[in-house]
């Protein structure tokens, strides 16, 4: 990887660079940061990386004891720090989202399944604590009809005290393959937007590769999950 010898191998070089675990983690981190809802946990990637990180941590420990050139040690340490930052930030963002939308995530099977094993446990115990806290400090003191955690009052038809992620936010994204004919308005899905069947259909929207677009997250949600669109 330290020499480029012609266009053919530069392309392979590019793809090789694209698929290092750190690159994948960086991508996962960016996606998670930019997306309004929680995405699927990258179990394999994180397991591999935690393994690598632990290994390097041990090595750095040993090397700094055994008197290997401190410059080399510090470079390994820097690389380690960078990777750890990405990992920690990734996990923290997910935790923030879990805390923010906790009732919604636990109530929706699809979202709940996107959590890792530890996150699920965290979410469950967080829920218990939060419910208890709300009960004791606020809800028990409210009049009888207003004591539910999920509903504003007994006459509410749905759980309107539950914070849901705003899927309508606009995100910056880039596509990996050319995508023609993206439906920008949700017409089929009448339930989410009751203005949908009144809005005239626009021209189908196309996205060229390698160009940034501001798009409504909901319109490209499926593509993000498939990995065809990258968020920035």
């Amino acid at each position: 990887m330290d020499s480029r010898d012609g266009d053919g191998s530069t392309e392979d070089y590019e793809t090789l660079i694209q698929t290092t675990d750190v690159e994948l983690l960086k991508r996962a981190w960016r996606q998670e940061k930019a997306a309004p809802e929680i995405l699927k946990f990258e179990t394999d990637l994180i397991t591999r990386l935690t393994g690598q990180i632990e290994l390097v941590e041990e090595n750095v420990e040993q090397d700094s004891q055994s008197g290997i050139d401190p410059l080399t040690v510090s470079l390994y340490q820097m690389d380690l720090d960078r990777t750890q930052f990405l990992l920690r930030s990734y996990l923290r963002i997910r935790l923030q989202k879990i805390e923010k939308y906790i009732f919604h995530i636990l109530a929706t099977a699809e979202l709940y399944n996107r959590l890792s094993k530890q996150e699920k446990e965290f979410a469950k115990s967080c829920l218990v604590d939060l419910e208890k806290h709300l009960e004791e400090s606020v809800l028990s003191k409210l009049p009888n009809n207003y004591q539910s955690i999920f509903k504003q009052s007994m006459i509410s038809e749905e759980n309107d005290m539950v914070a849901k992620p705003q899927l309508d936010t606009f995100v910056v994204c880039k596509t990996n393959d050319y995508l023609g004919h993206i439906q920008l308005e949700d017409n089929e899905d009448g339930s989410s937007d009751d203005r949908a069947n009144q809005r005239p259909l626009e021209e189908p929207f196309e996205m060229e590769t390698d160009v940034l677009y501001f798009v409504r997250y909901k319109a490209i949600k499926g593509f993000v999950e498939e990995g065809r669109i990258d968020l920035f």
Binding site: E157, F170, V171, R195, R216
Partner: protein, 212 residues
């Protein structure tokens, strides 16, 4: 702290954008010998004196700080190329010239740490500042033309990372507001008379309790 950059989750701080820029590759000329580095993010080296090598920017800066190498200026940063880019930026009102995605961060880092390696550093610096200004002015004027309330997607061609990050919060909220308010209720359409659904407690329209 990692991940604590902003209470609003989806904003990247300037430091985080710089972090991403630091993975870009640059060419260095080491002045010493070093064994291969098997880093988590890839393998680099071995390094030989006077033999150019490609490394990520953060590694180049680290080596430079310890006086172990010189950094070769990227081609796009030569006075010639920058002057051409500036000309072209000034000439075209609509489009942006093609520059590396992280040109702001890369040039900033090189100015801060590798000044000695840049010939005509003051010229290069002022050219980049000018390019930044012209581009940002273009971004501002194009923001004024977001009148089409039905635009559900906006193409930003050739914008750089820092520029995108600066306008992201504003453009995001503006487009969202347009989308929300740009419904055909305001534009009477006599042909379509769909039944209106009763809007009782509607969780979409309720704003989250915390202001964004």
């Amino acid at each position: 702290m990692a991940g604590q950059s902003d209470p609003n989750l989806s904003i990247f701080s300037a430091e985080e954008v710089e972090f991403m820029a630091e993975d870009e590759m640059v060419e260095i000329v080491p002045n010493m010998r070093m064994d291969k580095l098997t880093l988590i993010c890839g393998d680099y080296g071995p390094f030989f004196p006077q033999m150019p090598a490609q490394v990520p920017l953060w590694l180049a800066i680290a080596l430079k700080k310890r006086g172990k190498c010189t950094i070769r200026l990227p081609d796009w940063m030569s006075v010639e190329n920058l002057s051409q880019t500036l000309e072209a930026e000034r000439d075209s009102q609509e489009s942006f010239q093609i520059l590396p995605f992280h040109y702001v961060e890369i040039s900033r880092l090189l100015f801060d740490h590798a000044r000695g390696d840049i010939p005509d550093v003051y010229t290069v610096r002022s050219l980049i500042e000018d390019i930044k200004d012209v581009r940002f002015h273009k971004v501002e004027t194009s923001l004024e033309s977001f009148e089409d309330a039905r635009s559900s997607a906006v193409k930003v061609k050739n914008l750089s990372a820092m520029e995108v990050n600066l306008v992201r919060p504003f453009v995001g909220r503006a487009l969202q507001a347009f989308y929300k308010h740009g419904s055909p209720e305001l534009v009477p359409n006599p042909e379509r008379m769909p039944p209106r659904q009763p809007q009782a407690t509607d969780s979409i329209q309720r704003r989250p309790l915390r202001k964004r």
